[in-house]
Symmetry: none
Subunit: 347 residues, 3 copies
């Protein structure tokens, strides 16, 4: 009898998952670079849209204020396989944890070649959303709690919640730096490849309430990181992974957004690029420019057959650059060790 009850619960949970978001979209030429690889930024944007829909839907399943879920954080994301133009992207999302004021969503992306029928998982991402009231934009509402298949599952979710909360606080402090332009820099230095773009936030970048979709911001960040990487190694490059991205503050319609990127670390076959997003609410003089988001992107360089190429070593000129390079190396080695551990566990 207990077993049957377990089954029913499992089924309900399975259905709960099933009702989650399943968008499909054909990848168009504009989504890709010149050799046909879909930009990491386009994939991040789809992931965020799916996460935003499932979170907003869930947080409105109770009485009280209607609300919109805003992206607060994306956990480290690996791009397992490239997606190509003409493939169909499937994005599925599942609620995996709820704290009092936030929702954890797991999003998976699959690329399907509809000509051959082959399918492969390209991304698995974990996102955190916070629901803001539509009646009062600064009020965070309480999240209806989900049921878990087992107490262990809930316990694990709680650990992930605590860990990300800690990390968000840490990154917030690091956020004072700016990228200063260098005049006639030498090749392979940080100054040589560093780049920035500005973007005036328009209506179609925004949610119903005039705040920029997290996915739009991530797409811009990937664009800048990609330019930095291409300038450094002058080859075709693709996003390999994105470190945790924290959304410290919301960005409003009408702001000018400055997205800046600089290379922090190179291994033999990868480049790490730090990206900052600063928002400038042009018309509101009271508030100044502020740092809204920051993150690390890792890129690899590919030859014509899609095989990884060696990357020129970054030339370090200042103490600051050397320090950042060492920190990047630590992140690189940690990720490498984690990946090896996972591979061993799977064997």
């Amino acid at each position: 009898m207990l077993q049957l009850f377990g089954k029913v619960k499992e089924l309900r949970l399975w259905l709960q998952r099933f009702q989650s978001v399943i968008p499909e979209r054909i990848m168009r030429p504009d989504d890709a670079n010149i050799v046909g690889n879909v930009h990491g930024g386009t994939i991040l944007k789809m992931i965020e849209e799916a996460g935003g829909i499932i979170s907003t839907r869930h947080c409105n399943t109770q009485s009280g204020d209607r609300c919109v879920a805003a992206l607060a954080r994306v956990e480290r994301t690996d791009f397992l396989h490239p997606m190509l133009i003409g493939e169909v992207a499937h994005v599925s999302a599942e609620l995996t944890y709820t704290s009092r004021h936030s929702v954890e969503v797991q999003v998976n992306v699959m690329a399907e070649n509809i000509l051959t029928g082959s399918k492969k998982v390209t991304n698995k991402a974990t996102l955190w959303y916070v629901p803001f009231s539509l009646q009062n934009v600064d009020k965070i509402i309480e999240v209806p709690q989900i049921e878990y298949a087992s107490p262990e599952q809930e316990e694990e979710g709680k650990k992930r919640y605590e860990a990300q909360k800690m990390e968000r606080l840490e990154t917030k402090e690091r956020n004072g730096e700016a990228i200063i332009p260098v005049i006639s820099p030498e090749e392979y230095t940080v100054g040589f490849s560093q780049s920035s773009l500005i973007h005036l936030v328009g209506p179609s970048d925004c949610t119903l309430h005039g705040f920029v979709h997290g996915g739009v911001t991530m797409k811009l960040m990937d664009e800048v990181a990609g330019i930095v990487a291409a300038r450094h190694c002058k080859t075709n490059i693709v996003t390999a992974s994105v470190d945790a991205i924290n959304f410290h503050r919301k960005i409003k319609k009408g702001c000018v957004v400055t997205v800046s990127g600089r290379m922090t670390f190179t291994s033999n076959k990868s480049m790490e690029i730090e990206v900052f997003v600063d928002a400038d609410p042009l018309v509101e003089t009271a508030k100044g420019k502020y740092r809204a988001v920051s993150a690390f992107f890792t890129y690899i360089s590919l030859d014509k057959d899609g095989k990884p190429l060696p990357v020129p070593t970054l030339k370090l000129e200042t103490q600051e650059e050397k320090k950042r390079f060492e920190e990047g190396k630590v992140r690189y080695l940690q990720t490498k060790a984690k990946r090896q551990a996972e591979q061993e566990r799977q064997q």
Copy 2:
């Protein structure tokens, strides 16, 4: 035993349907008019994308040439409810019939308000696709046959197939006309509201093989029809239905497309607009301009609360206009009779 076999078959068919396309997308400000109603053209574009994915996928489930399914015809489509900005559109597609060289797809669109949880069906559309070989763009390949739940189901599909084939031939013959501009026309005449736009076909309008997506063409057609309707009644207007659309010839990348619309008929609360699509392959001097598509769109005029408004009667000036008005009236009365018959059947 036989009963069980029937169940298994049903289950397989159910799964076959289940494998169909289920995209989801939040409607953005750009998808809608100034009062927040999503453009009929945006919905038609989503419908066609879903139909194209499921057809292309199905026609590649056999060995031999890889192929892409091109839209050949859309059956008459009603817009049952308006869709609003901020709602999530769900599009589901199902293969319902296969002839030797064509595929029938049924697509349903549902609008979900993720804040209140309410869902309503906004559209049901039937589309016909023809698979073209990727090795030879002019070769139509054979379609793998689907299995039917019953012989009756197959028989009904065959009838629909024959009926649309007949109708396609008929419209092809009507297609010689052009819209001639009128200088300083009087208000409420055909010449007063008639409009046309030109569009240079770009890469993102096209399939992998450089032919315009049927959905892109339908979106342009709805845009012109909407402008004709708005010019006539100077109010907020929405698409109420689209008559069968036949795609006579493919349109290639680099063509200039001219989309022209003129009002043909007005009832008390609706306007019928005829839309032509002509393609001009600029650079290839050998071939001239040709008529690629034509269709009738029906619009209604809405007040601020979304209630239908009376429409000014079309002023007819020529024998041709009177003839077209009478033909439009016949279509209007036929549709009205059909709808009443359906309502009675459902009671």
Copy 3:
């Protein structure tokens, strides 16, 4: 001491300039024609966005009404080199003059090939903006004055200001004409290539206050001019220059914009196309259609290696066409003489 003060002033002015807008964007397939040349209209749109941001930011550096800078005029702009898909566009903007109610901005565009590292200047444009209050859309606010490096610099700016003011008044008077359609025209005549498009102004075409971005209008103008040029010579064409564009009246969200183009002049290797923009505020019955913008675009025809091709001579049929051809010839010869003088000065 005085010298030092001068240096400090220079430095401050340099910083002021430096804080100006530096966007960067990779050129996508949709930005370009079928052989990979980025549309002139896409570049004009980027230029205007940069100019709008720096002007709006500057005009909000004082207390009082918040405002948005609207484009009033673009001086003659040459496209010095084609920009290609995959290149990175750099746009930098600098405030060069302020009158009581207007701002002059100098925008430079550079194309960088990030694979080879090569950079070249593709455009230099001068734009004039007028700041409108956000509290009252019809009120123009006073512009905070910039400091000049020298009295001469200020004097030169004033001269440019007076000259453009005069020219704006002149063009305003010329603006009564309309493009009348021709039935079954002969090849190479004006009627053969003349074209027009209609566009329903949507939310993403607009500023925060519901007025069309000048850059959006210029992109549509370039699109029509390009189609006229391609219809005339049936080859790959690119924008070579744009004569001064005056924005006589603002265009509001919800308007239908009609953009019409006709060829006015051909030299051996160039075509001049006159483009009109008319706005029709559909729903507001009180106001009728009005002429919002007009300008001359010059196009050249290119072979597969990007070398200029001879252009078929325009066949003139009416006295009006002959008059416009002669006027076009004068503009052509003036520009040619100016360019030669500049080249000599630089040697």
